[in-house]
Structures are given as structure tokens and as C-alpha cells.
Amino acid sequence: MTGTGIASAGRSRRNREFWPAMAFIAPWLIGFAVFTAWPLLYSGYLALTDYDVITAPTFVGLRNFERILEDPKIARSLGNTLYYTVIQVPLHVLVALGLALLLERAGRASGFFRTAFFLPKMTPPVAVGILLLLLFNGQNGMVNGVLGWFGLDGPSWTTDPAWVKPGLVLMSLWTVGSTVVILLAALRNVPVELYDAARVDGASFLRRTTRITLPMISGTLFFVVVVDTIGAFQTFTEAYTAYFGSGNTTYSNDSALFYSIYLFQQAFQYLHMGYASAMAWLLFVVILAITVIQLIGSRRLVYYEGGRS
């Protein structure tokens, strides 16, 4: 009977803790319900309507989704976004990892450099968009100026469709600070003993990196890749500012028409809120599908020290 009594006492304690726990997490739950769950569901309803903000939504069934299939700009904007994501995410991770590896060996100076790397992240994205037009100006920009030092004739980054997205990718690499900090923390959690053992066995830096470092931080790398991919698919501010917003009042470039920008235009320039909602749901499905693929791939590529729960 003693065991039963203990179990009973345990259940009783958990019951007593349930409501206080709910009370403490209620603010988050309320926020989630109000700002995430409800908008998500409501946008699902709006996706089935014709709605312009002023007049009441009119139910139109799946017409908005049919229109998505007919709209050439959907394919264009999705293609641009996919292209950007495929290039930007790997480069972002590589640059961040490289900087983190350097920081790990910087000793006392790492604090300064960590701050220096993080500071660009504090720059407002709108300002980054304006800066892009200045730095990547094909005629007088600093980037082409530097390339000129090496005898290279830089492209028209901001007007040549072939170079617009690469320019945006390069600009985005300036803001890797938060990822560097995350990866640095992961690197510092790798047991030193593993490196010591590897050195005793004569393993080179490259071998230690590929056989110890990367596997040991693969979980963090996976997290970074997933988060960056989701972010890349929703790229908006810098590209919008540079190519559709205040950076250019009438000039635009379809090469920079990312899906989120087109969604924004449909919603707030053309007031096609129903169509924009349908587009948002399509984006959600696309991102979800890619994330699922990444999760499946992670089973083979990601190492968890404690095993999978």
C-alpha cells in the first residue's frame, strides 16, 4: 500500500500544480491565441473570400487559389525566393561558422569581435536596403570600386537582373552576427577531451573539424539551417526598400520580386486581401513542406548526444 500511497500523493501534487502552471503560462497562451492562432485561422477564412478591407468579405470559394495557378508572377516570385534561399542559406551558415571558429580561437579578443560581428544585426533593415543601393551602385559603388582595385569590372548589381539577387545575398552576409553567437555557443560545448584524443591520434585540424566539430554541433547547425530557410522564404524588407520602396519610387526589378513582396503588394497596394491570404497559406504550405524534408534529412545528418527521444 505504500507504493500506491506515494503514487497517489504524486498525482495529487501534480494536480495542485496544474492550475498555477496554467496561470503562469496564460499570458503566452493568450498572446499565442490572439496574435497567432486566431489570425492564422481567420486568414484561412479570408483566403476563400474577396475582401478589400472596407466592404465585408464576399465568399468566393477556391477562386483565389485558382487565380494563384494562373498568375505568372506567382511562379516568378517563388522562383526568385527559392533561388535566393538556395544560395543565401548555405553561404550564411558557412560564413557564420567560419567566423565562429575564428572567434573560438580568439581568446580574450573574442568579446570584442563578437560584438563587432553582432553590431550589423542592429542596423534597421530599411537602412540596409538603402545602403545596398549605395554600396552596390554599378557606377560609383564601393563594391565595384574595391573590385576595380583588382582590375575587375564589377557588374551593375542593382539593375542587371542576373546580379540583383547575388547582390542581395552578399548584403545579407553582413548580418550573420546572431548566427555566429549561436554557433559559438555550440562550439564551446564540444567536449575538449574529444579534441585531445584526436590530437594524440594525429588528426589534422580539417579532420578534427569534419569528424568532431561538425557532428557535435550538427544539432545547432540543423536549427540554424531550418530557421534561416524559413527566414529566407520570407525575405522582404531589404529587397522591398531597395527595389520597390523608397529606394526607387518608380523603378523596380522583377528579379527582386520575392514572394513576400508580391504578397504585400497584393494586400496593401491592390487591396486584394483575400488573394493575399491565399498566397500566405501557399507560403505556409511551401515552408512546411521544406521543413518536413529537412526534418527527414536530419535523421541521417544530425547527431544527438543523448539519442533521439
Binding site: F35, T36, W38, P39, L40, Y42, S43, L46, Y51, D52, V53, I54, T55, A56, P57, L133, N137, G138, Q139, N140, G141, D153, S156, T158, T159, D160, P161, T249, T250, Y251, S252, N253, D254, S255, L263, F264, Q265, A267, F268, Q269, Y270, L271, M273, A276, S277, A280
Partner: protein, 450 residues
């Protein structure tokens, strides 16, 4: 999910049909408030008129929500039933706002407060008139005049007739002659044809309108429009291509003492008249020459654009809003504003270059009373060109798909400039996109009995 949050917050459309409001003038000392969205009284023109309008609304508190009109904020406020009493918007936004019922027809305002619409510039008034109904009161007018660097023209053996558009072949040749490069980079832009924004101007000069007079039929694939686009793009091609021109253009100190005319890095371009004031302030000694934009037949032509006042649906004080607009755009109000500007310019040793108010009576009186610069001077020729252009303006008619229509033709021009499409193909695509948008929008308008 920002969009979803905004959408859920906005989705409270009332579904009410647009109804007229009481637009009669409020009694003196009636109280109440007037929130004005999109207008800033940051200069003497704005502040003088605001003072007069506020005084006329004795007892009514006038509050300004400054900065350009935030369309999302405005529409959200209308949907929420808490709109500002009056808005200040670009004229090319009025068709869209009207078609969605966000603003009220001003028929009763005009009637009940005896607003003389005959005083407004016809092309400006047409831009705020949808299906025969006036939805906003226009003010200000922007027109284009040709601004050139006299020294560069002389050096190249050219005259204003070569760059004012009266001869397209001559203009293209002039662009080539005026263009200079240094170390393989552009150092002088010969002529900037100002694409994409000035396609309507070049098309009209060639005898084509982008949109039918009733605002229902896109005409973007008209061969004359294609020809105009070919010409305007060709100007850039003779200068090394648009990418180089744009890159160089973007790096110009446009509002400063190092501007392209003072630095001798631009031969000529059509540009809105307000830039004359900029040049007069920062580069009074720049070797300028001015003329109107000409059609190949030699006629003056300008593309009108500007601002307007509209009363949102649900405005709590439409009578005061109507009075406010009436006072703000009245001739004697403009005269006092112009005097303030002229006095300020004189005090600073600058030229008063006139004012295009959108009110033709006011424009004439202001010119006669306060413009004292002799017509023989450089700045005098600019002033003369400005007023002549203002008398020869055209505008695109209002339509319920303003935003989509504009995006269609501008995107088409940009695709050509970016080397992605040929003019004919780009405009054909734009025609399909624009017409589809117009058809949908007008169908909705017609269904609602607009």
C-alpha cells in the same frame, strides 16, 4: 504572420453602401474636431493656408497626422469606423479609394457649400472624377519642363530644339553627342528620358493615351505607345544602356550643390517644375536653359499629377471637412500663401518662381501679382515654360484599378529597361494584366451600382 494579424484586424468591413453625408457648413463655434491625415504644413504655403482654413472653422479643433498618407492605416481606420475627417492623397489613388467605398462622393459638398469646380484645372479635376462623380478636390499640379545645361549644349553645337522632344531623331542624336565617358565609366548623361515614370508623356506626344477616356479600356499595346517606348529606351541605348545611366543617376547629389547640372554631368531631361526651385536655391549660377516639352508637331505638352482632398466614409464632421477643403483651395487663400512665399524668397535673395495650385484662377492671379522675374532671364524662361506647360496638361482618367493599372505599365517599362523583354512584348503583357484588373474592378463597381 504579420499579414495575417493585419488582415484579421482589418476584416470588419461594414458592407454598407456608400451614402452621402451632411456637407453643409457647420455653424460658427460649432466645436468638434477635424483630423487631417496625409498633410503637413511644413512650409509657408501649407502653414498660411492651414491658418486661414482653421480660422474659418472657428471652434473646430484641427489636428494634423503628418507625413504621406499611410494607405494601410487609412483603410484600417475606415474599416474600424474611426476614420480621419479628411485625407490628403495623391490624385492617382482616388479611383481606388472611391471604388472601394473608402471615400465619399463630393456632389453634396460641392452643391451645399457652393464650391466652384470650374476654377480647378480640368485635367486635375478629371483625375479625381470617377464615372462622372467628383470624389476629391484637386490641389497643386506638377508638370514637366525640359531642363538643360546650356554649356554642354553649346559645346556640342546643340540648341534647345534638339532636346525638347520636337524632333525625336534629333533628341536621340543629341543624347549621343552629349554623353561622355571617363575611364570607361559614364561621366555625362546626354539626355535622360526619365523612364519609367514618363512613358505617359512620350506616348501622348506620339498621339496615344495609355487609357481610354472612360477609364475602362487599357491601350498599352497601341503601336504608338510601343513606338514611344522604343524611342525613350533608345535614348538610353545611345548612352551605353540604362543600367549605366541609372547607376550614374542614382549617385547624383540631386538636391545639393553638386547636382548634375552644377557638376555638368547631365545634358538635359524633362523634370517637374518644383526642381527649378531646388536649382535656384543651391545652384543659382548653374548654366541652365529651359523649355517646355514638345510634341513632334512642336506643341507644348505636360503630364499632370498632384494632390487632392477627400472625405472618408464615416467622417464624423463632413461639413467641416468640406469647408476646410473649400477654404484651402480658394483663390484668395492661395493668394495669401503665394504672398508669404514671395516675401520669403525675396528676403532670402531668391527668385519666386510662381505656384501651380490646381486652381487656374489663382494661378493666373499669382503670376500677375507676385511673379516679378523678367521673362528674359534664365529663371524667367523657366517660369514661362512652367506656366505654358500648365496650360497644356493631360492626365490619366481615374479608374477603380488605379494601382494595378499603374503597376502594369511601369513594370512593363522596367522589364524593358532591365533587358528582360522587348517593348512590344512587355506592353502586350501589360495590356493583358491591366485590362484584366480593369475588367474586374469595373465589374465590381457596376455591380455595386456605382
Amino acid at each position: 504572420m504579420t499579414t495575417a494579424v493585419v488582415l484579421s484586424g482589418c476584416a470588419t468591413g461594414s458592407g454598407d453602401a456608400t451614402t452621402s453625408a451632411a456637407f453643409s457648413a457647420p455653424p460658427s463655434a460649432a466645436g468638434g474636431s477635424l483630423t487631417v491625415m496625409g498633410f503637413g504644413a511644413d512650409d509657408e504655403i501649407g502653414s498660411t493656408r492651414l491658418q486661414l482654413a482653421t480660422a474659418a472653422l472657428n471652434g473646430t479643433t484641427v489636428d494634423l497626422v503628418k507625413g504621406d498618407l499611410d494607405v494601410q492605416a487609412f483603410l484600417s481606420s475606415v474599416a474600424a469606423g474611426d476614420p480621419p475627417e479628411i485625407i490628403y492623397a495623391n490624385r492617382d489613388q482616388i479611383g481606388t479609394f472611391a471604388s472601394r467605398g473608402a471615400i465619399l462622393p463630393l456632389t453634396d459638398c460641392i452643391t451645399q457649400q457652393a464650391v466652384d469646380t470650374g476654377q480647378y484645372l480640368p485635367s486635375a479635376l478629371a483625375q479625381v472624377t470617377l464615372n462622372g462623380t467628383v470624389y476629391a478636390i484637386p490641389e497643386f499640379n506638377s508638370v514637366q519642363i525640359v531642363m538643360a545645361n546650356r554649356s554642354l549644349l553649346d559645346e556640342a553645337g546643340l540648341a534647345m530644339d534638339d532636346v525638347n522632344g520636337s524632333d525625336w531623331q534629333a533628341l536621340t542624336a543629341a543624347a549621343s553627342k552629349l554623353t561622355k565617358t571617363s575611364a570607361g565609366k559614364l561621366s555625362v548623361i546626354g539626355v535622360d528620358s526619365k523612364l519609367p515614370e514618363f512613358l505617359p508623356l512620350w506616348a501622348k506626344a506620339n498621339g496615344a493615351d495609355l487609357l481610354s477616356a472612360d477609364g475602362r479600356t487599357a491601350q498599352l499595346d497601341d503601336p504608338k505607345v510601343v513606338q514611344a517606348l522604343n524611342f525613350a529606351v533608345g535614348v538610353y541605348d545611345t548612352e551605353g544602356g540604362f543600367p549605366a545611366v541609372k547607376a550614374f543617376r542614382d549617385s547624383a547629389d540631386f538636391f545639393g550643390e553638386g547636382n548634375q547640372y552644377a557638376s555638368g554631368s547631365l545634358g538635359a531631361m524633362p523634370m517637374e517644375q518644383w526642381y527649378v526651385n531646388v536649382l535656384n536655391e543651391v545652384s543659382p549660377e548653374a548654366p541652365m536653359a529651359f523649355d517646355t516639352v514638345r510634341t513632334p508637331a512642336g506643341d507644348t505638352l505636360a503630364y499632370a499629377s498632384g494632390s487632392s482632398w477627400a472625405v472618408p466614409k464615416g467622417s464624423s464632421n463632413p461639413g467641416a471637412a468640406c469647408t476646410f477643403v473649400k477654404i484651402m483651395t480658394r483663390t484668395d487663400t492661395w493668394m495669401q500663401a503665394a504672398k508669404a512665399r514671395a516675401d520669403d524668397r525675396a528676403a532670402n535673395g531668391l527668385v519666386f518662381t510662381g505656384l501651380l495650385t490646381g486652381n487656374t484662377v489663382a494661378d493666373e492671379q499669382i503670376r500677375d501679382t507676385y511673379v516679378t522675374e523678367p521673362t528674359s532671364t534664365v529663371w524667367g524662361t523657366a517660369i514661362s515654360a512652367m506656366y505654358e506647360a500648365n496650360a497644356h496638361t493631360f492626365g490619366l482618367p481615374a479608374n477603380p484599378a488605379d494601382a494595378e493599372f499603374k503597376a502594369a505599365w511601369q513594370d512593363a517599362v522596367n522589364r524593358v529597361l532591365n533587358g528582360q523583354q522587348e517593348p512590344a512584348d512587355a506592353l502586350a503583357q501589360a495590356q493583358r494584366e491591366a485590362q484584366a484588373a480593369l475588367d474586374t474592378a469595373w465589374a465590381t463597381w457596376d455591380e455595386q451600382g456605382g
